[in-house]
């Protein structure tokens, strides 16, 4: 709608042969820049012959500003893009009268320097083939800073902005011919504008000028940039119509959408279907690229741009527009594309500037590995070999919670996800997330997956020391505190207990925790680190689901403590959620929702320890303790077996508590909060009853949570040691020596044979059944185990037996038996009690080839014993 406002003048009459310029100023939510731009237009040394302002009906004008600028018309309309605004303005002017009519396209924030139009006209007057001339778009606050000055495309059609936010040192002035220029501030020959049918409605912001330039070039015209003309650009085209500037992610998505649109418009007709079919596969490939480039935020934009392009209704019109005006082939623009070494150099330059803008140049602290780390790792290698001397040469470990892994790595990987679980009578359900760990572990020694457990045990101490040392270097740059941390971590009571009892999940938790903390701390600033933290979170939660809640709380707390890295940190649990979701859903469906918190692997009941026991890091009352040593020196075990290690571990606790009152308390308080979280989790774990095996019901082993507790204690102790300065060596040495003495029984457990873990023969079943199962993996062996309470446990082992990867928390945590299991229980009961019972039909039904009655346990019933004695 044309409106009459005071201050509007009539357009200048046409002068034959002289260029006539119609300036079109599209306000489009840029009111705050309008007065400045009008003033800049008023100051032009060569005024436009007509000035049309396209504005919203609500736009308020200052009459004197309109008058000074020489506004000839004001067109009001609601909404629309820049191109639509220009089209509205052109509907309000007289038809084209000659070749020398020009349109000067301006946004509200495009305030030109006084010489801008004169310079633009000077450039086009001497070159009749020029249809589009672009000025230097400069920073409003600093005209020496270039915002945009020419655009082109790569060989594959990607947009290449020739200049973006650079200091103007006239370095680009010599080259004026370009493929395209930004549309704002550009001077366009009006007849060409009409021939090209203006801007492409499918490119509302990004690439609008690029597309116009390409079409002008294909229509046989030239596009030039004019170094003497400067026009301000206060905002990017993508920011127009937005309350806040578009984020980098949004700009990337808009740019990708524009590129895909142009691809469909420029492609030969026969190639369009191929491009369409390749859209989604290409989006997936590019998604991988975005992830590798550490831009996960760009992934949704990448996919949504592809989906938009699939159903882009503006493509046919744009192709028609291009076809109508085109007079030259694509070879005409080939020299103006950027490719090869020039493109690589340009992109490298862009990356460098992006790095500089992000301010990545941060100082790095990394204590020298030779300054203590290498020695402590070497010492723990020796210690590990000595402590586990009986395990050297073993190809498999067994005892406690250890059973062999499947014979082939491929079998380990087949357990992942959701499917048939070959344990007991079998069932379909979600796999324990730990199956991923077993698969990774077993694949490390793919020729004999169970051997990986042996290697894990033999290298556990040095790996634990290395992780703790590395993590501690973030708390102290001095040599001694990280060394103390490494020794204290490797000699943690709970770690040595887990190694002795064959609790592979707890061992993995202890090994991974320091790395997780390290990655999480750095994850606030790095996608690579946060992704590492997320994978370590998965591994730790899979190895000991009971610690997942406390780790989750820690992650959330850290995310809020580092708001700048919130997005990176808060996403850390996502992979774990993906891995646990099917199990949790399945557990709910089966009526045992807490089963997902059960320890993975073989169900290994334990005798709960007291609160004092937990406080000194003792996870259960079965752990090899001071009983033997105390009895040797004539002291009663009761009480003393807690008191002695408590006294020996007191220096560590004292250092940790002392750190609260020393410099660095800002680090020790979070560390002690972690310790408190771990201790609370251990206490809760002791009170959970989640899994059953035979007559025993048990919960998650509290040892994994105690590793979290120990982590916090050692972290705080390191802060304390760091702060004590001169006394650090003596205090640290005393704490370390005392802590090692506290775990003396555990260190010697394997050597003296009190540890449950020992070299195995790789079999779960007797050799006869094992050999038969090797030939026919489908046969079953019914294992009858007399229980201490007089009952009889019955377990169906398929093939070579239930390996570590066969175990299932859903199976162990089930609260009711299936009909098949009840039938199996009947079979076991009848075998144990009924004379003359014919088990053949049931054995046939379950495909049982063997019945194994395990060695008599204390308290076995006469019925169970009868099974051993009586031929079934």
């Amino acid at each position: 709608m044309r409106v009459a406002l005071p201050g509007i003048r009539d357009p200048a009459p046409s002068l034959g042969g002289m260029p006539r310029v119609t300036a079109i100023l599209v306000v489009h939510d840029g009111e705050r820049w309008l007065d400045g731009t009008l003033a800049a237009l008023a100051a032009q040394t060569r005024r436009p012959d007509a000035l049309i302002v396209v504005a919203e009906p609500t736009t308020e004008f200052r009459t004197d500003a309109l008058e000074a600028a020489g506004v000839t018309q004001v067109v009001t309309a609601t909404g629309g893009t820049f191109g639509v605004g220009v089209a509205r303005a052109l509907r309000a002017v007289a038809p084209v009268e000659g070749e020398e009519e020009w349109l000067w396209l301006l946004r509200a924030d495009s305030a030109p320097e006084p010489e801008a139009l004169r310079a633009l006209l000077a450039a086009v007057e001497v070159a009749p083939s020029v249809a589009v001339a672009g000025p230097k778009l400069v920073d409003p606050a600093d005209h020496a800073r270039l915002r945009s000055y020419g655009e082109t495309v790569s060989a594959l059609g990607a947009t290449v902005v020739l200049v973006d936010d650079e200091l103007d040192q006239a370095q680009y002035d010599p080259v004026t011919d370009v493929l395209a220029v930004a549309v704002d501030g550009s001077l366009v020959r009006r007849p060409v504008w009409h021939a090209l049918d203006g801007l492409d409605p499918g490119l509302p912001s990004a690439d609008a000028g690029l597309d116009l330039g390409i079409r002008a070039r294909l229509a046989g015209h030239r596009v030039v940039r004019v170094p003497a003309a400067r026009v301000e650009r206060a905002r990017r085209p993508e920011d127009v119509g937005r309350k806040r500037p578009a984020s980098a992610r949004l700009r990337r998505r808009i740019a990708r959408s524009a590129q895909l649109h142009r691809r469909f418009v420029y492609a030969p007709p026969l190639a369009v279907p191929l491009h369409w079919l390749a859209l989604l596969p290409l989006a997936l490939v590019r998604t991988v690229g975005q992830l590798l480039a550490k831009r996960p935020g760009a992934v949704p934009g990448e996919l949504s741009a592809a989906f938009r392009a699939l159903f882009d209704p503006s493509v046919p019109g744009a192709r028609s527009r291009l076809r109508r005006a085109r007079t030259a082939g694509w070879r005409a623009v080939a020299p103006l594309r950027m490719r090869g070494a020039a493109l690589r150099e340009h992109r490298a330059h862009e990356r460098e500037r992006a790095d500089d803008r992000a301010g990545r140049e941060r100082d790095l602290v990394r204590a020298s590995f030779l300054g203590g780390g290498v020695w402590v790792v070497a010492a723990t290698i020796v210690a590990g070999l000595v402590i586990f001397w009986p395990l050297l040469g073993a190809s498999t470990l067994e005892g406690g919670g250890l059973v062999p892994l499947a014979s082939h790595a491929a079998e380990l990987w087949s357990r992942l996800g959701w499917g048939w679980r070959e344990i007991g009578v079998g069932f379909s359900g979600a796999a324990d997330p730990a199956t991923l760990l077993w698969a990774l572990l077993g694949s490390a020694t793919w020729w004999d997956p169970s051997f990986s457990i042996v290697l894990l045990w033999l290298t556990a101490l040095p790996f634990a020391a290395l992780g703790a040392w590395w993590a501690a270097t973030r708390l102290s740059e001095r040599a001694w505190p990280p060394v103390a941390a490494a020794i204290l971590w490797a000699a943690a009571p709970v770690f040595l207990t887990a190694l002795g009892e064959g609790r592979v999940g707890a061992v993995l938790v202890h090994l991974l925790l320091p790395w997780f903390v390290l990655a999480l701390v750095e994850g606030a600033r790095s996608w690579s680190a946060s992704a590492t933290a997320s994978l370590l979170f998965v591994a730790i939660a899979a190895a000991a689901p009971v610690v997942a809640p406390v780790l989750l709380i820690g992650v959330v707390a850290w995310a809020f403590a580092r708001p700048r890295g919130f997005v990176r940190t808060i996403g850390v649990p996502i992979p774990a959620i993906a891995l646990f979701a099917p199990l949790v859903i399945d557990a709910f469906r089966r009526g045992s929702p807490l089963a997902a918190l059960a320890d993975p692997g073989v169900v290994l009941p334990f005798t709960p320890t007291s609160g004092w026991g937990l406080l000194i890091g003792r996870p259960d009352a079965d752990a090899a303790g001071w009983d033997g040593i105390l009895s040797a020196v004539g002291l009663p075990a009761a009480g003393w077996d807690t008191l002695v290690p408590a006294v020996l571990l007191a220096p560590v606790a004292a250092l940790a508590l002392l750190s609260l009152f020393l410099p660095g308390a800002g680090r020790s308080i979070p560390a002690l909060a972690v310790a408190a979280g771990g201790l609370a989790t251990a206490w809760l774990a002791v009170h959970l009853q989640l899994s059953s095996v035979g007559a025993a019901v048990t919960g998650p082993w509290p040892g994994s949570a105690l590793s979290v507790y120990w982590l916090g204690l050692v972290g705080a102790a390191v802060v304390g040691l760091d702060a004590t300065r001169r006394a650090a060596v003596s205090a640290g040495a005393a704490a370390v020596v005392a802590a090692i003495l506290a775990v003396t029984p555990l260190l010697g457990a394997s050597l003296v044979g009190t540890a449950a873990v020992h070299p195995g023969d790789g079999r779960i079943l007797p050799s006869l059944a094992d050999a038969a199962a090797a030939a026919d993996p489908g046969i079953g062996t019914l294992v009858l185990t007399p229980q201490p309470d007089g009952s009889l446990g019955a377990q169906l082992q398929r093939g070579e037996g239930a390996t570590l990867d066969d175990q299932s928390a859903l199976h162990a945590g089930r609260t009711r038996l299936s009909e098949e299991e009840l039938a199996l229980a009947d079979l076991a009961g009848n075998l144990a009690s009924r004379g003359g019972y014919d088990p053949a039909p049931e054995l046939q039904r379950f495909q049982i080839a063997f019945v194994l009655v395990t060695a008599e346990a204390p308290g076995a019933t006469a019925e169970a014993e009868a099974v051993r004695e009586r031929p079934p």
Partner: protein
Amino acid sequence: MTAASDSGYGTLWSFAGLERTEDATPPRGAYGVGVLAVQLGVLLAALLLVIPTRRRRRVVQTRSSLDEPAATTFDEDSDG
């Protein structure tokens, strides 16, 4: 059934009359395949993020702590 062996594992009885029928392990099914695909997809995405693909910049400094986060085992990057 006949006694087959007596070992540390216990007493093993053999059922010689077993007629083997074909094992029919239920297939993973569409749900199982979907679960596996999502899980592997998420893990793959995390793994791709972990792989270092940017230039490292190492600068030695004299002080680091959790209060003054400066350590960079990993490359720092902008929020993409």
